[in-house]
Amino acid sequence: MKNNIRLFLSGARASWATYMVDLTPTVFLGMHIPRTILQSLFFVYLAKAAGGDDLARFALIGNAIQIAVFNVMLAMEEVIESEKWNNTFQYLIAAPSSWFPSMVGKSMAHYGDAILATVISFAALIPLLKIEISLANLLHSVPVILLVIFSATTLGWSIGAFSLPIRYGFMICNWFAYAMIVLCGVNVPVSALPPAVQFFSNILPVTHGLQAIRALIDGATYSNVFPLIGAEVLIALAYGSIAWLMFGYRMKVTRQKGTFELV
């Protein structure tokens, strides 16, 4: 247990160091924050043009969460894929310690970045678009926002584990993250989608959690949204298990065939 904690902390330190190298103050202030705000702003304006202030409010909540989902999914896929590109996958296989705490640690900075993206989106867009959202209710929904971000993490991990042998994992994850704007009810409710599409919406992370967040922001209690939270937790666990099993399988096959260079 003690060793696992040490591995986790070591991974978190590596994650923070990489994050700080990638995001210099200029990149962070001049590119990262503007992109976060502008991406949400575009989709919220689209909703405002289509359905007025009500749909804009709906889209604002959805996009403020989606921007974190977007960031965290891409980052988690990258955490897995970077082992391949940095030639460290073979060390992960050879090391006698468990890979899991280290990989969780390596994703910590991105998890923090995703939370920051949501905070920035809400903080910038609510006053900019003069949309009424109760701060108390918003704070009330924070645990579910964290759950949704974690849930999206598991999908990013799964895509990373599945796409490890190919070169296009990041691209696939990128389009998946965009497609989730349609599928998870970010700009328009899931109920407006065709029934066949709703099936996919319901088995994806974020969909149920986002509905719970909207309800909490509108004043619902946690007992009202318990089924939605429960569904989100189950889906996160399912995707997390798939990712864990698949990544383990990739390591096993690589160890058996000795073909880590080709992975």
């Binding site: 702003l41 575009f42 689209l46 909703a47 043009a49 289509a50 691209m171 965009y178 497609a179 700009n187």
Partner: protein
């Protein structure tokens, strides 16, 4: 300019464009970007208008999404071209040749923009299949002329950004920031009337704004005289080319003075 200079300039642009097209044809990355992104963006934008009970905005959303794809592809690939040349170690070699880097990038970017014109067809198809919108182009000739003009003009605008990518390794981050302001300021899928008035002059400096206007007018056949808008697009393209030329000269000077591109 002497005749052989003009001919050699066109030869350089043509060869760069063909090389880029060959590279695109085998790049899954490019093909997926050109084909999947327009589908997803059309589903989002048209879907939002249909849900908001404004299906009349469907055509506006579709042409906007098509232009988004062309601009996105152009800007993204401009950054990628520079990054690839840097990664393969050929950026310095190109810089050292007597041929201007700007001409090579013009050919390569134009090839990307031309290929991404398929995106316009894909957005129309997606709108028709997914939302069963009765979409047609009322004035196909003017639509085709507008599309060609806007592709050329967007390529010129992409060149201005491309010059900055040479001096930065953060082209990827920069492209993702530069995308959304252009979508918003050009009124691509989102009406300009929603934006504050002070943004209008900025919108008018961007060629996608005018491209959006002429494409929508040609698609709906409003009988408007498109010539003034065509002239504006051509004028803006010339201005972008002049700015790009000045910037490339400056960048080339900085690189030659430093004797390396590794500093950036």
């Amino acid at each position: 300019m002497k005749t052989y200079n003009i001919l050699s300039t066109f030869r350089i642009i043509k060869n760069s464009a063909f090389l880029q097209m060959k590279s695109n044809a085998v790049s899954i990355y490019f093909i997926a970007t050109a084909f999947i992104q327009p589908v997803i963006f059309t589903l989002i934008s048209v879907g939002t208008y249909v849900y908001g009970k404004k299906p009349d905005f469907g055509l506006f959303a579709i042409t906007g999404t098509g232009l988004i794809s062309i601009w996105n592809s152009n800007l993204f690939t401009s950054g990628e071209i520079i990054n690839n040349e840097r990664r393969t170690g050929t950026l310095s070699l190109i810089m050292a040749t007597p041929t201007s880097l700007m001409l090579i990038l013009l050919g390569k970017s134009f090839a990307n923009a031309l290929t991404s014109a398929f995106a316009m067809g894909i957005t129309f198809l997606t709108g028709m299949i997914a939302y069963r919108l009765p979409i047609g182009i009322a004035d196909p000739l003017n639509f085709a002329i507008s599309l060609l003009l806007i592709i050329f003009s967007i390529t010129c605008l992409g060149l201005v950004f491309g010059s900055l990518f040479i001096l930065s390794r953060n082209a990827g981050e920069f492209t993702s920031v530069a995308n959304y302001p252009v979508y918003l300021l050009s009124g691509l899928s989102v009406p300009l009337t929603l934006l504050p008035l002070w943004t209008r002059p900025l919108s008018q400096l961007l060629t996608p704004t005018w491209g959006n206007i002429v494409l929508n007018e040609a698609a709906t056949h409003t009988h408007a005289d498109l010539l003034p808008n065509y002239l504006i697009i051509i004028g803006l393209s010339i201005i972008y080319l002049i700015i790009a030329r000045v910037l490339y000269k400056k960048v080339e000077y900085l690189a030659l003075e430093a004797g390396t591109l590794e500093r950036w």
